[in-house]
C-alpha cells in the first residue's frame, strides 16, 4: 500500500479540491436585493423588473431586481444561459415563452415580434421570405393562422405586388398583423432600394380572407398633411407597442425627407419633424391626428404609448410627470391631463418611467434610496408603492444599497 502513496495522494487531492470548492467556496457573496412593498397591492409590481448592476467591491455584476429578489446574470447555470434563456430578449416579450411552451410546432423559427397576432381564439404569423443568395424578397407574403381551440393551422401564400413597375429592386418589411372581421390585415412597408435614400416608399394594408386565403384588398396608406398635400419620401414610420395584441388602429409617426441645396446637386436630405397619423383597420382610412397632439413632440417631452384605442403622451422633467390621453378614434382628449410630482411619492428625482397597458411605472431615486410607484395611467390613481431594500444588518444594507445602480425597468411576462 505504501508504494501507492503518490497515486493515492493525487486522487485525494483531485477529489477533495473540487468537491470542497463547489460545496463551500464558490458562493459569490453578492448582496441580495428585493423590491419591498410599502403601500398598495404587490401584484401590481409582480412582473416588474428593475434592471441594473451591482457596482461594489466584488466587480461589476449585471442584475435584475423584482419583488421576489435579485437575479445576478453571473449566477445563471449553463443550462439557463444557453437553453432556457438563450433567446431571453425575445421570449420575454408579450408572452412569447408561454406561446412556445403551448405551441412549439407553430412557433418554430418565428422570430419577428411585430409579425405576430394573438387573441383568445387565434394565433397568426406573417413573413416575407427572402432569397438567401440575393437578399431580395421572393415576392410573397406567407401567412400561418393557428386555431387555438382545434390546433389546426392554415397557411397561405399571397403575392406581394411590386411597388413600381419599372423593375426597381425593392424590399418589404412587415410592421403589424391584425385579425379583423373582414380578414387578416398585414401592414407592409415596401421601398425601393436602388436609389435610396430618396427612393419611393409606401405602406400597404394587405387584407387576406382568412377563410379562403385569397387577397381581398391591398389598401395603400396615404398621408395628407394639414395643408392637404399628399406626403411622400417617408423615411421613418414606427410607433407601436403591444405588437401582438388585437387593436383597431396603427399609429404612424412619420419623418419626411427634404432635399436641401440645388435640385441637381448631390444634396444631403434632411429630416423634418415627425407627424402623427392613425390608420384604422376597420375603415381603411388614414387621418392626421389633431394639431394639439402634433405639438406634443415626444423627442422633447418623453414617451408616447398606445393602449387599446388610446394614445398616451407623457411630459416630464426631473420632478414631474404629466400624462395626457387621447382617443385614436376621434382624436379628442379623454379626461384631464394629470400630473405627478416626485415629492408626492417621496424624495428623489425621476429616474425612469414607462406605460404598459393601463399602468404607469415610475422609478425615483435619491442617493441610495430608490422608490417605485405603479399608477393607473388613465386616472393617476396610485396602486402600488415600493422601495428597494437589501438583506443583512443596517450597516450591510447601507453598503449594499450604495453599491447598486438601477437604470431601467421592464415587464417580464
Amino acid at each position: 500500500m505504501k508504494r501507492y502513496i503518490t497515486t493515492l495522494a493525487l486522487v485525494l487531492l483531485a477529489a477533495a479540491g473540487f468537491s470542497t470548492y463547489y460545496a463551500f467556496g464558490s458562493a459569490d457573496h453578492l448582496p441580495e436585493y428585493r423590491l419591498e412593498t410599502l403601500e398598495g397591492d404587490a401584484k401590481e409590481a409582480a412582473n416588474l423588473v428593475l434592471v441594473g448592476s451591482y457596482i461594489g467591491g466584488k466587480g461589476s455584476q449585471p442584475l435584475n431586481l423584482t419583488v421576489h429578489g435579485s437575479e445576478y446574470r453571473s449566477r445563471k447555470s449553463l443550462y439557463e444561459s444557453y437553453i432556457t434563456d438563450a433567446r431571453e430578449w425575445f421570449y420575454e416579450q408579450e408572452g412569447m415563452r408561454e406561446l412556445i411552451e403551448k405551441y412549439p410546432a407553430f412557433m418554430r423559427g418565428k422570430a419577428e415580434i411585430d409579425s405576430f397576432y394573438q387573441d383568445q381564439d387565434w394565433l397568426a404569423y406573417a413573413k416575407i421570405p427572402y432569397n438567401t443568395a440575393t437578399s431580395d424578397p421572393e415576392g410573397t407574403i406567407e401567412v400561418e393562422i393557428l386555431n387555438r381551440s382545434t390546433g389546426k393551422v392554415a397557411d397561405y401564400s399571397i403575392a406581394l405586388t411590386p411597388l413600381s413597375q419599372q423593375g426597381m429592386r425593392e424590399h418589404a418589411t412587415i410592421y403589424d398583423v391584425q385579425l379583423q372581421a373582414d380578414g387578416l390585415h398585414v401592414m407592409v412597408n415596401q421601398y425601393e432600394t436602388d436609389n435610396r435614400p430618396s427612393g419611393a416608399s409606401q405602406y400597404f394594408d394587405y387584407i387576406i380572407d382568412s377563410a379562403s386565403g385569397q387577397l381581398s384588398k391591398r389598401n395603400p396608406v396615404e398621408f395628407v398633411d394639414a395643408a392637404g398635400t399628399k406626403l411622400s419620401s417617408i423615411s421613418h414610420a414606427t410607433l407601436q407597442n403591444g405588437y401582438t395584441a388585437p387593436h383597431d388602429y396603427f399609429v404612424f409617426s412619420i419623418v419626411m425627407q427634404e432635399q436641401t441645396g440645388e435640385a441637381n446637386s448631390s444634396s444631403v436630405p434632411t429630416r423634418v419633424p415627425a407627424e402623427l397619423y392613425v390608420y384604422s383597420y376597420k375603415s381603411g382610412i388614414t387621418q392626421r391626428l389633431p394639431d394639439e397632439m402634433q405639438k406634443l413632440d415626444a423627442r422633447r417631452m418623453g414617451g408616447r404609448y398606445i393602449s387599446g384605442d388610446e394614445l398616451y403622451f407623457t411630459n416630464y422633467n426631473e420632478t414631474l410627470i404629466a400624462v395626457s390621453r387621447y382617443s385614436l378614434e376621434t382624436g379628442e382628449r379623454r379626461g384631464e391631463t394629470w400630473s405627478l410630482l416626485s415629492s408626492q411619492i417621496g424624495e428623489g428625482e425621476l429616474q425612469s418611467f414607462f406605460i404598459n397597458g393601463e399602468r404607469l411605472y415610475v422609478l425615483l431615486a435619491k442617493e441610495d434610496a430608490r422608490t417605485v410607484v405603479v399608477m393607473n395611467a388613465a386616472t393617476g390613481e396610485p396602486l402600488y408603492k415600493g422601495s428597494v431594500t437589501a438583506e443583512g444588518s443596517e450597516e450591510e444594507r447601507q453598503i449594499a444599497l450604495s453599491d447598486m445602480a438601477l437604470n431601467n425597468m421592464s415587464i417580464k411576462e
Binding site: T6, G25, K58, R75, L78, I83, R87, R108, K110
Partner: protein, 280 residues
Amino acid sequence: MKFYLKLVHMEVHRFRYLLGGLMVLTLLMQFGVVLLWSLSERSIRTGPGWSEKLITYHPFSETGKLTFNEMMFNNQFWFSFPVLISIAVIAGYVFLIWYRDWLGRDTFIYRLLMLPSNRGCIYAAKLTAILLFTFGLVSFQLLLLPLEMMLFNLAIPEALRDPSYLSQAILQNQVLKVLIPGQLDAFVMAYAIGILTVLAAFTVILLERSYRVIGIGFAVIYVFVCGAALLAPITLQRPGNTASYLYPGETYSIMLALTVIIVFVSVWLSIRLLNRKITV
C-alpha cells in the same frame, strides 16, 4: 481491476517529478507575485505623499483599500504563467504518454502489450492518469489560493486592506475563471470537452501507430469528422438566433447525442486498434 490500478500507479509514478515540478513552479511563482506586489503596494501606501484621495475609482473594494482581488486582476500574466505552462505540459503529455512507450530506450510498449491482460486497461490507465494530473493540478491551485490570501493578509496590514472571497478572486484571472468556473455545470461541461479532446487525441495516436503514414491521413479525417459533427448543430442552428428552426434545447440535445457517439466511437476504435491492429 488490479492490473488497471497498477498501470495507473505506474503512469503517475513516471510523471511524478514533472508533476511535482509544475506544482513547485506554480507555488513559487504565485507566492512570489503575491509577495512582491503586496510589499510594493504597501510601501506606496505607507510612504510619504500618499493620500486616500488619490484613489477615486476603486472597483475592487468598498473603500479603496487593497484587496486580494485587485492583486489577482493586476497580475494576470505572471499569475497565469505557471498555469499555462502546466496546461501546455499536460497537453504535450497526452501524446508523450503513448509515444514514450514506443520511442523510449526499451520500447516499453512491447512489454505492456505482451502482458496477459486486457489491453483496454492500458488505454483506461493512460486516460485516468491524464485526468488525475489535470484535476490534481487544478485542485492544487485551489489549495494554493487560500494560502496566497493568507500571505497577502500577512504582507498587508489590516488597516490597508479589505476582505476578498475565493470565488471573486478566481473571477479576476482570465485563465483561472475558465479552469474553475463559478457554476458546477459549467465545470462539468468544460472538463467534459477536455476529456473528449483527450479521447480524440488518443484515437489519433493509435491510428498513427496502427497505420503509420497512412494512419496520419486517417487521423486527420477522423478529427475533421469529429469537429464537423460537433460544430455543425451550433453553426447551422445558432441557439441564440430566434429564426433558427431548432429550439436551443434541441440543438444542444443533438450536440450531446453526437458527443456521446464520438466518445463511444473513439473508445471503441482505440481499443479495437490496440487489440487488433497493434501487434508485437
